[in-house]
Symmetry: D2
């Protein structure tokens, strides 16, 4: 299976490594508007850097992997579909829900897999929570709690184009809730700017709590912070009738030092590249499974739409100070 990569930045490099690691997929070309970055990555992998149109027109390319900037996602998905390619696209589909709903229409009848890069679904810890839940290990679930803190806020220049905390950061956690609990009925959002006043000046929040309620009474809570100086804090906890499942952080090493100053363990691994290294590789193999073996796509366009719809609902809830219902108009469902 021959793969062309769009985007030669940080996350593009991660995906290039995943493509290489699965013996069933081969990276054959890379495209990036930053030609220097494209050339460097191409050289490292002994492949050509090519133009986007040229790649899309090349019938030998089976699949495209979209890891370019967010504002190019929707157009590239559409182009990939038109060119008859299998498509793997980093989240989100777009910052604009209506554009995502358009993409949903365009892709509805495509006969090749289209997969959204919700990498956390492939984290072995969260996947184990999902498996245990589905295996009935804690009985009927009642509450879900997602903790998701970044080690440090991004530059304010990034914040300004990010779409805001709910669409940029919490979107992963919305998808985690959908993954574990399905689509909620209402969204209630709370948020503040407590870390960096410039984030507030840019119209965004850096601290957020969102409560999702489900039609059958289940309740999910998401806590986000742009800053946890001890590292990337990524935990999930589910309470059910028979007990709880809690996925704790992965830590840098297992060494515990005990001295008069206390008992010190290693910190959580630093950020998403470290925490989700394995998840990215497993995610890619799931896409290859879908393309080559016809396995079901574990996170599709509808999942992308859902996450975005929750983010928009959260934005509205925060603005209006009240719970917002999630409707099928929002999710295209």
């Amino acid at each position: 299976m021959k793969v062309a990569l769009f985007g030669a930045g940080r996350i593009g490099k991660v995906h290039a490594a995943s493509i290489k690691m699965d013996p069933r997929s081969e990276l054959v070309a890379v495209a990036d508007v930053m030609t220097e970055a494209a050339e460097a990555l191409a050289k490292e992998h002994g492949i050509p850097a090519r133009g986007a149109d040229e790649i899309l027109a090349d019938a030998s390319v089976d699949a495209i992997l979209i890891a370019s900037s967010t504002n190019t996602h929707a157009d590239l998905i559409a182009a990939g579909v038109k060119a008859g390619k299998a498509v793997f696209c980093e989240k989100p589909i777009d910052l604009d829900l209506s554009r995502a709903l358009e993409i949903r229409k365009i892709t509805a009848n495509h006969d090749k897999p289209i997969m959204m890069g919700f990498n956390r679904r492939f984290d072995p810890n969260f996947a184990q929570v999902k498996a245990a839940l589905e295996g009935g290990e804690i009985g009927k679930p009642t509450m879900l709690s997602v903790t998701s803190f970044d080690p440090a806020p991004p530059p304010v220049s990034y914040i300004k184009v990010s779409g805001g905390l709910f669409r940029d950061m919490m979107i992963h956690d919305f998808d985690m809730c959908s993954f574990l609990f399905g689509l909620p009925e209402t969204v209630m959002a709370h948020g503040s700017c407590l870390i960096d006043p410039e984030i507030g000046a840019a119209g965004d929040i850096d601290t957020g709590v969102v409560v999702l309620t489900y039609s059958d009474g289940r309740i999910a809570t998401i806590c986000n912070s742009r800053q946890a100086p001890y590292g990337y804090d990524q935990r999930v906890e589910v309470l059910g009738a028979d007990g709880t499942l809690a996925a704790e952080n992965e830590i840098e090493n297992t060494v515990v030092k005990s001295t008069a100053a206390g008992v010190v363990s290693a910190k959580p691994v630093f950020f998403f590249l470290e925490r989700y290294t394995r998840a990215y590789a497993i995610e890619w193999s799931a896409f290859v499974d879908a393309v080559i073996e016809g396995a079901p796509v574990p996170a599709g366009v509808q999942d992308g739409v859902n996450a975005l719809a929750l983010a928009e609902a959260a934005n509205r809830s925060l603005a209006e100070g009240r719970p917002v219902a999630v409707t099928t108009d929002m999710t295209g469902g």
Copy 2:
């Protein structure tokens, strides 16, 4: 310091043991409308069971400890004040906020300590969180998360007179938030009946999530469940600019068993009597400090009013499906 105990039930016995453990206080009498219970406890401690009026009229009694049923609390506080006693009263002051506000007026000028039994403030783990917060160990706090699950729901007969989950169970967690973060500005409540349909039929919920927001942007989340079959789950976690403080559960023993079936640790200690044994003793000594040495009362009538005001706000929020502002009318502040 001579103490008379009102209430010879489960929690009365706990307090009797605490009184005995502090060499500065002496249990001299016990009163209970269930005369059999009063006689039994009196016999065990070699003291007389006496009538309430008789005790209040006895000038040799320095302090009264109110551990009788909730609907007697307010009257006994008032009577104790009138009789010039120091008063220790189990929470809540009353199920009715307006009655609690009356008690606040009545007690305002009392010259002896009046202390409310918010025992969790004296749990060494939560006290350590408070101390570390005040010591600036994690910098400026931003988010607080309180997890509080009972091992199993009480009988529905109890639920019916309990005042409901927010006033009966979450009231401790409201006080924990006040203890760690102060009085919030708004309360948003979510709740469902997911464990026992009879609880729902009785008009109550068994699963609740409440979000408190503070005027400076801090956010606190409380998750309550009436059922966690592995034991009493009592945790607190605070995020600050420099890190987090997390108070984990206390467990039955430290033995870890590793077999082919997995790595098994002991469960959390079963319920509040086991978890808060030390807290009850420390709490009592704090009251004795206040009475004998004039130390500040660590949890007074205003704290009782505040917790009740938050519970009432949560009830209104749940009923109306919107955030409710906490006003000074509510808290008497």
Copy 3:
């Protein structure tokens, strides 16, 4: 059951509290050659300080608790037996094995319980290991590892009269091995002075490793150090055919602090008084059970002899640099 206490020092006070806590036993007198200490403790408990002979002659005293200095233990046991009392004695019986064997003879036909204070058998964690072992939870055991470090070495003046690390400190661990694995066949000792050269100058070691082998092939290892600056390190680990049981340390509180400096947990509780508070109370109740209800004595004179025999074998092994067989001559068995 009326109890007289011999020894008003640190450990005597602990036992006085335990006697008070069990409603079936009553402390009626205290004796100590340091009359000031005896008077102080007596006053605190509202009982008389009396002479040893007087106490022994008092027929109303049912039991004596020997918590005086080691060199008085054997004589007091003998006197207690002669006076027809039940006897609880702190370990060791004596520093001299032959004297312990004499005591064994003297006490052989006594019709009242004689119990040695091997408190660690009553620690809920180690007791849980024992119960799980006996319950077959890890199958046939093969290896045992005992870690036992003090927070800081005692003064050299104490070292000089202590009988040495094996008889003073490791004697508890020898008993733990006997408790969990029974009496071994050989003892091989290694030891060094690595912490305080004055301990070496006094002819003792401060760091010791002893390996015990059993006739059926099981192997136990004990590691001792006089200094672990993070607190009292008391752990036991057993490997069996089906898995391991590991009793970890008890810690000061459950708070975990995560900052850029690392993830910091509380230290183990400081020393034996903190770690074994509960064990001392449970131990005392077991003695009361034996005296009042005829329950079996959980740690008797033979256990005291065994621990001492292992300590002497370890001393010989260290001196001669070879494994030493444990014979029935040594243990009186």
Copy 4:
């Protein structure tokens, strides 16, 4: 750097993956007397399977990686040296110490790196212990404890040719002691057959405890078992004047399940391939560093000799029931 691989078995495949992962090294050929295995691995990597002599004669091959059966190690090292190659060889050099000493002579003046595959030195957890020790984080070290249990014993057919527990299994732990504490002065071994009587019938033990003493008084203890049904148990703990460093197991995932049956965590990762995946990759990069950049070899022939000398001393100690001195004759030092 062009690399030829000797040995296409389980560990050969692991190394092939590591070679591929470091962009500075290229796998160019594979040799195995099992031609089918060689062909399969060669095909997977798109390289030729070649004869050993042909590879050694090929000047374009910079380095050989010896992962064939133990009895070929010494001859292949010698041949590699003669052919002027850099050599990476799996442990042990040979089961016979005198042969290892010969290899030491033969390799003494080789001008290319020769590295022994003591993979555990590259485990990030043990490496962190080493770094913290060298950084003085726990002060002067006094005791070392190495726990090393396999999940299940190998077939008895393997045991018969393995060289015995000390040379086959504990050799890694001997090297760990050397890595952390240097070369000891004496070795005292204890061992039994407690898991599988056929192992005993084959003249070997399956349960072993070895104590190493150092000239400055430090003491190290190694516990080995061929069977720990919960997985691969690989821990190291060091006590120093200021505290301890403990490297705990890596576990399968971070999910903790709490139910009425207890609190269950994931097991340690299953066996060496899972536990040391990262270590193998880091180890290989260290060899590439040595070959390409002249970095020091982190585990050389002398380290292989030392580990073997300790294993032989342990065998003699076990046979003779006494401590055995480790001499420079043994180690070639």
